[in-house]
Amino acid sequence: MRVSTAPYGGLIITLTFVVGFLLSMLPGPDWAERFRPDWVGLVLIYWCIAAPNRVGVVSGWVAGLILDVLYGSLLGQHALAMAIIAYIAHRWHLQIRMFPPWQQAACVLMLLVLDQLLVLWVKGVIGQASTFWPNWTASIVGMIIWPLVFVILRDVRRRADIN
């Protein structure tokens, strides 16, 4: 089942995640904060669809845990949300691969919104929620740049021969 043609595949996937973390940490002006897409979520969804043999629930969980430490949020909060969207993307990766681009983007939007809702839900339970509504703008920006992320990561995957 497992085709490990790329010797450094794992390393390259990890590097793309590191770039995702950097992009979500880069300081920007206050007004731009609402438009910052969930880079790590996008990278995770891509790899779950494109390399389901390598990236799945556990990778998603670890990425979420690192986000928790970076954000200083409750440990396990983003980890839980990321693991669940990784599971969904991983479970239906064959279908999502076949979708036409717009349908794929809509699917990504749903996953990103689900991720935010899960994080908000945990925050609500521990009484830290400042707003009931998820940050729609960020998810929509995530959906808009999805084709770009897809093309870039597909190039990375083809160069590194990861499948």
């Binding site: 973390f21 950097l22 940490m25 969980w61 970076l70 949020s73 839980l80 830290q128 400042s130 940050n135």
Partner: protein, 282 residues
């Protein structure tokens, strides 16, 4: 990374496993601070990411400094000289006032308030998660930073340290929705509490009834209740008082005195410790 749990388990089994693990982590992290050690270790591991993320800001500041024209430098120099003179003059007055204050306190028989020890800390990272207000400063347990330590700037209280690792620590700002600070109205000594809202320049003062004597423009200073923040530091200024007859309490917003969104240095203070020569920043 997915080989961590081996190929023997299905994706669903792994999902259930990590969900249970997340819930256990969250409960432990929320109930008691059991996971501080784990968090500290993880923080050291991700410190490089934070440093790299801060590089563009530092680089742009460096470039701006490099290409700053001689004229701006000269202007800055003149301005700073003038400010320094003004501050020196005020400092002299302050010293006289401090001495007078001490004499009066001695007369009253109360213990004199000592100057607090302070160390300048550089901001490494701001603007993390949306709707929370936190900053990371480049001082950690190596520099004797402790949990709950007050963080201030030149204008007032910024927040408190909520996470300490070896080289850096994270502080929660007074505007964070999870933050509250006990204060006094400077004009009449009314005790109340300020809550963060998540907005960058607004805090709330809830639970004051319609007959309370509070007005727009009132300065709120820390009261020292609860023992976490030293008393007497400015916190916020009341900007709006709304009396709604349908509501039991007044709707009061205030603007933090500290310039939370400006500058790249903050002060960490050790209340009650006197400033010594060796305590200057390294």
């Amino acid at each position: 990374m997915s080989t961590l749990l081996g190929r023997r388990f299905s994706s669903l089994t792994r999902l259930i496993f990590v969900i249970v693990l997340s819930v256990v982590l969250m409960v432990l992290d929320h109930q008691a601070q059991h996971l501080l050690r784990i968090r500290a270790v993880l923080s050291v591991l991700i410190y490089p990411i934070q440093v790299v993320a801060a590089v563009p800001v530092r680089a742009s500041a460096w470039v701006a400094e490099l290409f700053g024209s001689e004229r701006t430098l000269r202007q800055n120099n003149e301005r700073l000289q003038a400010e320094r003179l003004a501050h020196l003059a005020r400092l002299q007055k302050l010293e006289a006032l401090e001495a007078e204050n001490k004499r009066l306190r001695d007369l009253l028989g109360s213990a004199a308030r000592v100057a607090d020890r302070a160390v300048v800390a550089e901001l490494v990272e701001v603007s993390l998660e949306p709707f929370t207000r936190k900053i990371v400063v480049a001082k950690g347990s190596r520099d004797a930073v402790y949990l709950g330590q007050p963080v201030i700037d030149a204008y007032g209280i910024i927040g408190q340290v909520t996470e300490v690792s070896t080289y850096a620590s994270k502080a929660t700002l007074i505007t964070d929705p999870g933050h509250a600070i006990p204060v006094l109205v400077n004009r009449n000594g009314l005790r109340t509490i300020i809550f963060g809202t998540g907005a960058p320049d607004r805090v709330n003062v809830p639970y004051l009834t319609a007959t309370t004597d509070i007005r727009e423009g009132d300065l709120l200073v820390s009261s020292g209740m609860g023992g976490r923040f030293p008393p007497g530091y400015p916190v916020a200024q009341v900007t709006k008082v709304v009396k709604d007859p349908n509501e039991a309490f007044l709707k009061i917003s205030a603007k933090p005195m500290a310039r939370l969104n400006y500058g790249k240095e903050v002060l960490l203070i050790w209340p009650g410790e006197r400033q010594t020569a060796s305590a200057s920043p390294r």
